[in-house]
């Protein structure tokens, strides 16, 4: 069965529409969404209404959580004061315009979803704010998959799609206790982390929307990149009084600002 997995739509209705059309063309039988439906972009209500109307199984992202709970992440959420100011403006803008029923919908979203040997989260199984970057230590990455009990972990949050295959894991452990010692050998089965990228605010260097198609029969992943008229969204960002830098960022497909010193840091609230 072919499934489509998308993430980080961020209020970009044009991008969502283009991705849904592409999913149709790929003949995926089921769609999963990894959260961050709102934030940054100019059409948060329309995006949520579309996801709801299509009954797409969705997990809660960090932006969705912040709109429900209010901004209370520690200062680590932003790499600079400038980035923090922009983020707060986007949060206020979204918070002011979100419909009550949309907020209710975001509030009841689960933190993870399971479908047979597949697990779906926004950031990591431990925290919506944790970035599972492709360069994170391989054993750490393996732990994140194994913590779910699944074979394949789908995540988003980084806005850059990738497939990481973890294989041929071997460990030798010696345990010593006052009553004696023992040696154990472990082998880790093949596991994968599949990052779905971002529909509405990509950061892979091009403005195109990204998502993934996964075939559960042959375990093959296709990273999809979809062209759409991103300039419509850029114009809407400016017309709606959101920070113009968001339009620039969308047009470049880049995180324009500084990168956090430790992207794997988990925010403690």
């Amino acid at each position: 069965m072919k499934i489509a997995v998308m993430s980080c739509i961020h209020g970009n209705y044009e991008a969502l529409n283009a991705v849904l059309s592409d999913i149709d063309r790929q003949q995926a039988e089921k769609i999963f969404c990894l959260g961050d439906l709102v934030g940054y972009g100019p059409q948060p209500n329309a995006v949520v209404e579309m996801i709801r109307s299509l009954d797409i199984p969705t997990v809660q992202g960090c932006w969705d959580e912040d709109i429900v709970e209010g901004l209370n992440a520690c200062e680590c959420s932003y790499p600079s004061i400038l980035a923090e100011k922009r983020g707060k403006r986007a949060h206020e803008w979204t918070n002011d315009r979100i419909h009550p029923e949309v907020r209710e919908y975001l509030a009841q979203l689960p933190l993870s979803l399971r479908e047979e040997n597949l697990c779906f989260v926004h950031g990591s199984p431990h925290n919506q704010h944790e970035y599972l970057m492709p360069e994170v230590n391989a054993f750490t990455a393996l732990e994140r998959v194994m913590a779910t009990g699944a074979d394949v972990l789908f995540c988003g949050h980084t806005h850059i799609p990738y497939v990481r295959t973890l294989d041929a894991g071997q460990l030798a452990v010696k345990v010593r206790q006052p009553e004696g010692s023992s040696t154990k050998q472990f082998t880790a089965p093949l596991k994968q982390i599949i990052n779905a990228g971002s529909v509405g605010e990509p950061r892979h260097g091009r403005p195109n929307a990204t998502y993934v198609i996964y075939d559960t029969d042959d375990r093959l992943t296709t990273l999809r990149e979809v062209k759409y008229d991103y300039q419509l969204t850029c114009q809407a960002i400016i017309d709606n009084g959101l920070p113009a830098i968001f339009a620039w960022r969308l047009a470049q497909g880049l995180e324009y600002a500084e990168r956090a010193e430790d992207p794997t840091h988990v925010c403690e609230r």
Binding site: L166, V173, R176, L223
Partner: protein, 239 residues
């Protein structure tokens, strides 16, 4: 040499037995760590804390961090990191909230508030639970992937903990894992990640088992560990 203990749980006699054992060893104790659960749900905890704060001549001054019981008393007084004592009630029942509240006096509570969460020294991380949480109980049967995660979170080679109350050395002697990353523009060759000689050390429990206190000695220069068990009684013997 470091002496590392945990789980006194208000058991003054057990603590005295450990301190006496250290004195008898005639080795200089450079650092004396108490990795939490120094207090327990009993009034004797207050006397124990006074004793710990006033070491006698020639005794090392303990470096103490918070444990599970310390976290529970802070939560009861709305000073904790979470708002409600769910874990305490789930584990011991609702009556324990009053027992613990009544047992710990305000002076001890103030002392608990001053405690560190953990210690990092050389390539060692010392904590009651683990780098995940104070409640995380690491045992000799921990999954090795989880063990590596707990070590990696603090980027250390050695993690000393006391939550389980068990004395053990869990050594990851060797490990390897291949990783391959495919992006939109690139497919990397499989890259091996190798690791060796990392360990988790359970330091035992001083006060949990009546009549038997256990703790750990560690020599940073040689990396050697020794698990110590001290028998003690609370009666006066022939005296």
């Amino acid at each position: 040499m470091w002496a590392i203990a945990s789980g006194i749980e208000g058991n003054l006699a057990a603590y005295e037995a450990v301190v006496a054992d250290l004195r008898k060893s005639r080795q200089e104790v450079e650092n004396f760590y108490l990795l939490g659960d120094t207090i327990g749900p009993k009034v004797e905890s207050n006397q124990l804390i006074k004793r710990i704060q006033q070491p006698r001549k020639g005794e090392p001054t303990p470096l103490v961090c918070q444990g599970w019981w310390e976290e529970q008393i802070l939560i009861l007084h709305a000073l904790g990191r979470t708002g409600s004592p769910t874990e305490l009630i789930d584990r011991y029942g609702i009556d324990m909230t009053k027992t613990l509240w009544d047992a710990i006096d305000s002076t001890t509570l103030e002392w608990v508030r001053t405690l560190e969460f953990e210690f990092v020294e050389l390539d060692c991380f010392l904590i009651h639970g683990s780098s995940l949480s104070v409640s995380d109980e690491l045992t000799p049967s921990i999954d090795p992937i989880h063990a590596i995660d707990r070590l990696s979170r603090m980027d250390v080679n050695q993690l000393f903990c006391g939550r389980s109350g068990l004395a053990f050395e869990y050594r990851i002697e060797s490990g390897s894992l291949n990783s391959q990353v495919q992006t939109l523009d690139n497919l990397t060759a499989p890259t091996p990640t190798i690791l060796s000689n990392r360990r988790i050390i359970g330091v035992g429990s001083v006060g949990r088992v009546e009549g038997k206190a256990s703790y750990t000695l560690y020599h940073p220069e040689s990396n050697k560990l020794a698990f110590k068990t001290v028998r003690y009684g609370t009666k006066k013997g022939f005296g």
